[in-house]
């Protein structure tokens, strides 16, 4: 394998990671709402990543929103008029307009004209001695693991933990790249997230993504799911009340989310107490009796209870107490 690193147009600071999002290249953009596209592009840059990779077809849609210095342009093979000033050009041939980025499968020989090589790999690399493989590369190489078999995040994270500094991922794993949000959250947890990254902006990116793709994000999707920080089980509520690190990998606020106590089959008395206080019903009823009602009702409806139902059960339990 040729492990060269040639001069590149992409910035190369020694004190930060250089992360590119390629999700727009994994989406079908024909017919999308232009405003939604612009909002999504803008939200990705607000996240603090270095570059957004866009397909050639998006250039005319983004217009004034476009920041060429923070954009890698994916150039079709037959493209004749290549606009200048982009940070890089992902293509299969040499480009005169700027730095040429070539994608190469891990272990293959890159073409001599490449200014920058983006190494791609699938799950097969995961089952090799990937740390030994990583050590063959300079840390300045760009790595772009595919997410086949759900190994994309793991490969990306291990690459960065081994000292790699350039990575291409994609929000929500779009286009079968490593999910950007998972990689960033992992960097946060492992203490190597560059300070310029603003994970609290993730909900904004998620909303822009939803508007653009008209696709809902699953409520338990890692890092992004709206229900991730709903805490139901008794001991989790209790543990988080004592020290949130006990049962949370990272603070909800760090990814722009908020914790919410949910009442359901697995709730304990501590949860009920907190929820009663939240609803201004503190001390209204016996907690054991209320817990009993909550469990039965939760199993009856097959899920958690909203505040209205919970309050009704509390009042019912209170009525029982009086009787």
């Amino acid at each position: 394998m040729k492990m060269v690193k040639k001069s590149t147009g992409l910035s190369s600071s020694t004190d930060k990671l250089i992360i590119t999002d390629a999700s727009l290249c994994g989406l079908q953009l024909s017919g999308v709402e232009t405003q939604a596209l612009r909002a999504y592009y803008r939200s990705l840059l607000e996240l603090g990543i270095a570059y957004v990779q866009v397909p050639y077809s998006a250039v005319t849609l983004l217009t004034s929103e476009l920041q060429p210095g923070h954009t890698v342009l994916s150039v079709p093979e037959d493209c004749k008029a290549i606009p200048p000033s982009f940070a890089g050009y992902l293509c299969t041939r040499e480009v005169a307009a700027g730095a040429t980025i070539i994608e190469c499968a891990w272990g293959s020989t890159p073409p001599a004209f490449a200014d920058e090589i983006r190494w791609t790999a699938d799950s097969a690399l995961f089952f090799q001695d990937y740390t030994a493989e990583f050590s063959k590369m300079t840390t300045e190489c760009e790595f772009c693991p595919r997410n086949a078999d759900d190994f994309g995040t793991a490969l990306a994270v291990e690459w960065l933990l081994e000292g790699g500094r350039r990575l291409t991922a994609a929000f929500m794993g779009t286009g079968d790249y490593a999910p950007l949000e998972e990689v960033l959250a992992a960097l946060h947890v492992y203490g190597i997230l560059p300070p310029s990254m603003r994970l609290e902006k993730l909900p904004g990116v998620a909303e822009a993504y939803r508007q653009l793709t008209k696709t809902a994000i699953p409520e338990h999707k890692a890092v992004l799911g709206s229900a991730l920080f709903e805490v139901e089980s008794g001991v989790h509520v209790d543990g988080i009340a004592k020290n949130r690190h006990c049962y949370e990998p990272f603070a909800p606020e760090s990814v722009g989310a908020a914790r919410r106590i949910v009442i359901g089959k697995h709730s304990g008395k501590q949860s009920l107490k907190l929820k009663l206080e939240e609803l201004g019903l503190h001390g209204i009823c016996d907690l054991d009796q209320l817990l009993h009602l909550v469990r039965e009702q939760s199993m009856h409806i097959g899920g958690s209870l909203n505040d209205e139902i919970f309050a009704a059960l509390a009042k019912k339990a209170a009525g029982g107490n009086k009787a």
Binding site: F151, P179, H220, D238, C246, H292, E296, K316
Partner: protein, 319 residues
């Protein structure tokens, strides 16, 4: 030759801890039957200390299973284990926090206390004639030497296996492999891995743990579980198919998912149960009893005053 790894299932225990999830007895028993048929060697059926409902579930599953061993989950408390004994399960699983964070914050104790209390609980269950497995919570933030020392104690007590839980999903794949390599060097007790998907690496961490020496991988259907969920059994089996033989295999798990989906993600679980039982002549009386109880409960206009099916606990611990 490909190595073999056994998948265990905890859909009915940790899987159900996904917020907003509340399976009824019928759904859980039906799922257990499907899991058994799919070829899981072990099914974690529930937490008997939760109360009578849960005990009913475990007892029904014990009656119906054909091949899988049925495990029940317990905190390090004799009273919890006593509840489990009522169900006569195959395996009593006892879970212990091993990180200083959980030991100090949750239990307000120290490592020697954990070692002694866990030992007492294991001896208690073993003396009752049960096979015992042990779970270590929060291994990703625990001292590896302490884990090894405890595992050695467990081996000497005749514990079947030790399950390592990455409780908040912050292990890296490489760290998981190194931890398993270290532990399997220190003691020859079989280790299992239990992962969470908070950073999207539950499958990868489990795969690396197996490479490091884990004999079993704890999984759930569709990866359901607390927060972002657990290791998805089908995804794991599919991901490692070229490198490992899993039991059950991915093909069997695909069939299982298709059958289980309606039960897991529908509030119509009870209807499924009735439909299922129309052609089932085994244990008819038991089925009827549970069904009648359920219907009476949910249809009662004033069930708050009933002597209900569930007893109370102050909560539960999840790993």
């Amino acid at each position: 030759m490909k190595a073999q790894v056994l998948l265990t299932d905890t859909t009915l225990r940790d899987g159900e801890q996904r917020s907003g999830f509340a399976m009824n007895t019928q759904s859980k028993v039906r799922l257990a039957r499907l899991l058994d048929q799919a070829g899981f060697c072990q099914i974690e059926a529930g937490i008997p200390a939760m109360g009578r409902c849960e005990k009913d579930v475990v007892c029904r599953i014990m009656d119906l299973r054909t091949k899988a061993k049925i495990a029940v989950w317990n905190r390090m408390r004799r009273e919890d284990i006593a509840h489990s004994l009522d169900c006569k399960p195959d395996i009593i699983h006892i879970s212990a926090p091993v990180s200083d964070l959980l030991i100090g914050t949750m239990l307000k104790k120290d490592r020697p206390w954990v070692a002694q209390t866990l030992t007492d609980c294991v001896v208690f269950a073993r003396n009752k004639g049960y096979e015992v497995s042990v779970g270590f919570q929060d291994v990703s933030r625990a001292d590896a030497q302490f884990i090894a020392s405890l595992a050695g104690d467990m081996r000497r007590l005749g514990v079947l296996s030790v399950r390592l839980a990455d409780t908040v999903g912050t292990l890296t794949p490489m760290k998981a492999r190194m931890l398993l390599e270290y532990l399997t060097e220190q003691t020859d007790i079989p280790f299992g891995i239990h992962t969470h998907n908070d950073l999207g690496m539950a499958v990868a961490i489990a795969a690396e743990a197996v490479r490091g020496g884990a004999a079993t991988v704890d999984t759930t259907l569709f990866g359901i579980g607390e927060r972002a969920g657990n290791c998805d059994s089908y995804k794991f089996a599919s991901a490692v198919r070229n490198n490992l033989i899993t039991k059950p295999a991915a093909a069997d798990l695909a069939t299982l998912r298709a059958d289980a989906e309606a039960i897991l993600f529908s509030t119509e679980g009870a209807k499924e149960w009735h439909k299922y039982n129309e052609g089932d002549n085994d244990n008819d009386n038991d089925n009827e009893e549970i069904t009648v109880k359920h219907d009476a409960l949910v249809n009662s206009p004033d069930y708050a005053g009933r002597d209900g099916l569930c007893t109370h606990t102050s909560g539960q611990i999840a790993v």
